[in-house]
């Protein structure tokens, strides 16, 4: 039983079935990150996939653009409680990226320019569930939102969608990333409100 605040009415009471528990809708695109925004030149940009056996696959910017592109429209849910519906992206599905990668791994550790890391089970990144996104709303992805390219895993809280993505490391063992070792949930399902460690 919750405490009642008699003078509080609140505003956003439409119970939208697409809004996970504890979230509110915003039309803005707020920014959350732990440090300065890295600025990565497209000429220097590189994305690598490293398997559990040490095989490395690399793409430069032209190489990423040469892969088949998807245009997903997805809802975003940030652990700081805002959600944004029907955002339009363009990028490369991880199914495409990993198509020729031999692996028996169950986990992926994603690392970014600037040093950020996050971990996601591999099955959450395949079958059309995740992309390397470089275009938002028809424009090149702005640096503060993760450009040149970010991971997009919209069914998990947005901290899993690492900005400024640089390397994907496949692993047999799960290794918690930056926020996951700073008190946030290891998996981060918005529909189960897995915000903090232990939830």
């Amino acid at each position: 039983m919750s405490l009642i605040s008699r003078g509080f009415s609140g505003r956003r009471r439409s119970s939208d079935p697409n809004l996970p528990p504890g979230q509110y809708l915003t039309e803005d695109f707020p920014v959350l990150s732990a440090g300065p925004t890295p600025r990565v030149d497209l000429d220097d940009w590189e994305l690598s996939v490293t398997t559990e056996t040490g095989d490395v696959h690399r793409w430069d910017w032209a190489g990423l653009q040469a892969l088949p592109q998807d245009e997903p429209t997805v809802d975003l849910h940030c652990v700081t409680r805002w959600s944004k519906f029907a955002t339009d992206w363009r990028g490369v599905s991880l199914d495409t990226l990993l198509a020729d990668v031999e692996t028996a791994a169950d986990y992926m550790l994603i690392s970014s320019y600037g040093g950020y890391t996050t971990n996601v089970p591999l099955e959450d990144l395949l079958d059309g569930k995740a992309w390397i996104a470089h275009t938002y709303d028809g424009e090149p992805l702005a640096a503060e939102h993760g450009g040149p390219a970010r991971l997009l895993v919209p069914h998990l809280y947005l901290w899993k969608s690492a900005k400024w993505v640089r390397g994907l490391t496949l692993s047999l063992e799960d290794e918690p990333g930056f926020w996951e070792t700073a008190g946030y949930h290891n998996y981060g399902d918005p529909w189960r409100e897995q915000r903090y460690w232990g939830e």
């Binding site: 919750s2 405490l3 009642i4 605040s5 008699r6 003078g7 509080f8 009415s9 609140g10 505003r11 956003r12 009471r13 504890g22 509110y24 803005d28 707020p30 920014v31 959350l32 990150s33 732990a34 440090g35 300065p36 925004t37 890295p38 700081t80 409680r81 600037g114 040093g115 503060e144 930056f178 926020w179 070792t181 700073a182 008190g183 903090y196 232990g198 939830e199």
Partner: protein
């Protein structure tokens, strides 16, 4: 992590648009300077809203202070900063956040840079430092719209409690009469004068609106500060 009952023990108006709620929380285990709590409000019809608020008080104080700035478009902040009364109960959980924190065991120079109500978690760090006899060198650069918008003015300036902390102010809209610096957005020249140089290798904490944090962090990188020593917290 479970919700706890917090009793509003005291209310202090900080500015026309910001108020501090001093909370009594049973079995509060303490916090680390820079952390926040979630506050949950439940309307009579069962509707709930939860928002994060930074803790302003230092660790080890009996009460937990939250300073809430009214967001005119906000759903929760107008209630907390205008309507809440002493004795009322709120639900909170926390403390939360393990990155944007300062611990007394840190001995390196610290640079705090606040935009508007972004001062709140940095104030907790200043108070933590004062309460623990830390000798870590601290500087604060605080950007506010106008003199009346300054939070904790007595404590920061007039009472001299922080006399060994170098506090610098910058005004973005309106300055006191005779103010010797330009009024407007913080620029590279002022930032260089009012903050530790890269050679000191400070740990820098920046908190404020996104545009402010982005601009300041970019200027610090351009001045030669290392990205890994810069911690940011943004809102809006």
């Amino acid at each position: 992590m479970s919700w706890r009952v917090a009793v509003v023990a005291e209310l202090r108006d900080e500015t026309d648009t910001a108020r501090t709620l001093a909370l009594d929380i049973a079995d509060w285990s303490g916090h680390t300077a820079g952390q926040h709590v979630d506050v949950r409000l439940t309307a009579p019809d069962g509707y709930t809203a939860v928002r994060p608020y930074s803790i302003a008080s230092g660790p080890g104080q009996q009460r937990v202070d939250l300073t809430v700035e009214i967001d005119p478009n906000g759903e929760v902040s107008p209630y907390l900063a205008r309507d809440v009364t002493v004795g009322e109960q709120l639900e909170i959980r926390g403390p939360l956040g393990g990155w944007f924190v300062w611990r007394p065991a840190q001995t390196e120079p610290v640079q705090l840079i606040a935009g508007g109500s972004g001062l709140v978690p940095l104030m907790s760090m200043l108070r933590a430092r004062a309460a623990t006899d830390s000798s870590a060198p601290f500087r604060l650069l605080y950007s506010v719209r106008r003199p009346e918008a300054m939070l904790y003015a007595d404590e920061l300036i007039r009472a001299g409690k922080l006399e060994d902390v170098d506090v610098s102010l910058t005004y973005t809209r309106e300055a006191p009469p005779g103010w010797p610096h330009p009024v407007g957005r913080l620029d590279a020249v002022r930032l260089e004068v009012e903050t530790w140089p890269p050679s000191v290798a400070p740990t820098t904490y920046i908190c404020g609106p996104t545009a402010f944090v982005e601009a300041v962090a970019d200027l610090l990188l351009a001045a030669g500060h290392e990205a890994r020593r810069i911690r940011t917290e943004r809102f809006g």
